[in-house]
Symmetry: C4
């Protein structure tokens, strides 16, 4: 096996610059930048993890930052990709190895408009637990009620991988495990959450972590009453009409943080 | 079921602007704004949760922010309500769906002057635990000694709700479960705490969360000695004469925070 | 029982202003102010808790802030007390009800020069655990090796108190339980830690909390190897020669915090 | 036993100033300063703990701050040492008692270029657990897959030490326990982590703590699926090509923090 796969990629994309196509809206790109910053500020991503959005002028493309820490992404760092993971306008910039998570899910799920992949700290332990499943403990996390399947990479690629989704085949296997859910755990790695808009995906990524923190405390106190399937469904439908409220608050926080750093 | 109840409400209140009545004191409104900010700064509310106070010139009304994140409430955002939940001066602004929590408790409990509803992170797990009750572990939380009933919404509205207190009937059922206590847990949702003043309600909301954090650690260490009923009663009576001290400190913190953001 | 003991005290001290005696050194007063701020910044005290130091010109007196949140103490807020708890120069300012913790320990332990009383959040659960004793898990907390007795106020004052040390008798009972240790837990209330200097008492208050956090995690992982008595003794003797290092770092932090707030 | 070993050392080094040798590169010294600040900012060290790097012009020397809190280290505080722990240019400044951790590992492991010793808060509990070993739960911590041996100082120096590595013999015993691993736990004390560069050592110190936090949560949820040996090996090889990403982000954070304090 090669020892430096990531850096090899930098050169490989050097000749993509000539690609063309419709231009994504400026608002979409700005929202994607904001989503990167919110996810860092809320502790969902650290130097690793990424968020994408489907191209608003071409459903066969998606937008994702170049290979970098989400906290420092700016509009110029957003790269356009084909669904097979080929960057359209990377212009020699390194891209995330795991862009196949995004491309393959957009392929399999036309309803999905945005995706967050993270190692958020209280969700990850549920990916390695053989006994306790991540389940909704409150009305804010009804989107977990559809089930939280666990993707075991050993089933797709055997023992001995680095657990990363480093090609289309692994991306497709992950998309298959996700199925019609909003959320999939990845054993020893983290999770991926999808939504019908950027705000939905960000909301769900944050509240999956919130739910995980609530659940680890609840489990410690004895038997837990989880939301029923019907409660989860009703709660998701109604609560998710309110996601502008946290989005605007989180956006204001990162704007203040940027102003104070300037 | 309708899919967008919250936004429907925005229009519904558009013609409330002509309502009149005595004006609440400026100090009361400013304290309510401060309470919103303190509860955010202390981690009791995030983008969700709300705090109200009974109108100081008309006991049949109460004050509550319009539908927004508590952290950014200003005096202009405070709306006046009738006890049945009808906004008096919303002037087309969206209001919290769960205002019935407040109205029905003010109806049932003439002694209550202020109410905090939150999903505070260590209290909520006690709402779903089938084994461990939230109980006072120290002298600061004697107000929990009167018991911490759990409101199970399935008893009032069957399985399949979104767990929200979205009408007067559910508000009345919650008020009945609260009874003469200071505190009621809401299964899969959070809690509601009441007090004879805004400072009391804020103090109790913060220290319920503090007590929950102490209790989850204590439970982990083995059998726990809780406050006896008599200790809880004496502690509450004496300690709550000191609540100006934390209020002033918390207020100073949010003022510094606002000054640094300006 | 009276309902407002604390406020009654404000009036009671109004005629103490004429008291005289040697003046404590300015450095000692400034260090006591710094100790108040450090203990808040390190999360050992919130709006409650207090730190005292023995008067450096008169061993029968001690210095303690007036009744206020430690975070906002300034030199003008420091009051001088007799060992029986009588304020010398309160000049009508309210004082801490629990000053008897300090006076009675200074009486019983001539070696003690400084005392911290707090409800620090991970130490308090050990005060109510019937199974797990607070014990040193690392070399930084050798001072816990002498034992961590638990003061049960029911033994001294029966069931039904507010758990506070509100008179000389309770202070003396607490001092007796402390014995020759550095640290005493107070059931359902918190702890008191003593030292041969302000820096020692502050260091021990912070590292008792650090040790408690380490121990709750360790206990969760299975059987724990604690420091032996001999290790604790050697570690305490050697490590406590290094306490200027954290003191200076903590002091610098609170100075920066004050500069940024100014 | 002497009671003040640390201060005695201050005088002992007063005549080292005349020592000479090749000068370490300015970049290396600046990176070492940055490493000190990152480790503080990330919560790996507090007032205690230290990081060293092997001299880039002379493999028989290493660089380490003088005896001080890592948060406040500047280039002028970096001291050069011989591998036996003798300071070359301390010029009377106090040095860390535990410099033997560094010297003896550099002696035993020519591949090691940098070392972090810390008491990081969630790793330490694994050093005293008799049941649960620190093991990799995710792809970011493959470096733990080689095993996490525990150094029990009682085996080398009997019961009754202060647990510190205060001479060459103890340093050599620790280096022997480390063996070919990247990481060694020290019972009741903390851990030491090594790497082929400063960035590696800092990355591993931070992610050992991250892994410990993930593992304590996972253990609480039931049986855990850890990385297999092969997964750990592959993950380490591939992920550690990406460590510039967190290093640059962490560096930017401490630079902003210093700018705001200036």
């Amino acid at each position: 096996m090669c020892t430096n796969l990531f850096e090899v990629e930098i050169a490989a994309f050097a000749d993509d610059a000539a690609a063309t196509g419709p231009t994504a809206s400026r608002t979409l790109i700005e929202d994607l930048v904001t989503a990167n910053h919110i996810l860092f500020d809320q502790g969902i991503v650290d130097a690793f993890g990424h968020v994408s959005v489907r191209h608003d002028q071409d459903p066969d493309r998606f937008l994702l930052a170049r290979n970098m820490a989400p906290a420092t992404v700016s509009p110029d760092d957003i790269v356009e990709f084909m669904l097979d993971g080929t960057p359209v306008n990377a212009a020699g910039r390194a891209v995330y190895l795991e862009r196949f998570i995004h491309g393959e899910i957009y392929k399999a799920r036309p309803d999905v408009q945005a995706i967050v992949h993270s190692h958020s700290p209280t969700v990850l332990p549920f990916s390695v637990s053989q006994r306790t499943r991540l389940r909704p403990v409150c009305h804010m996390s009804g989107f977990l009620g559809g089930g939280t399947p666990i993707f075991e990479i050993r089933e797709a690629a055997g023992d001995g991988t680095d657990l990363l989704i480093r090609d289309q085949g692994l991306g497709a296997a992950l998309a298959q495990k996700l199925g019609e859910s909003s959320f999939v755990l990845m054993r020893g790695h983290g999770s991926t959450v999808v939504g019908p808009s950027l705000k939905h995906a960000v909301y769900r990524a944050v509240y999956a972590e919130v739910n995980a923190r609530l659940q680890v405390e609840a489990v410690r106190l004895g038997e837990v009453t989880y939301l029923s399937d019907k409660e989860a469904e009703t709660a998701q439908r109604n609560i998710e009409t309110q996601i502008d409220r946290p989005w605007e608050m989180w956006k204001k926080r990162v704007q203040q943080w940027q102003a104070s750093a300037a």
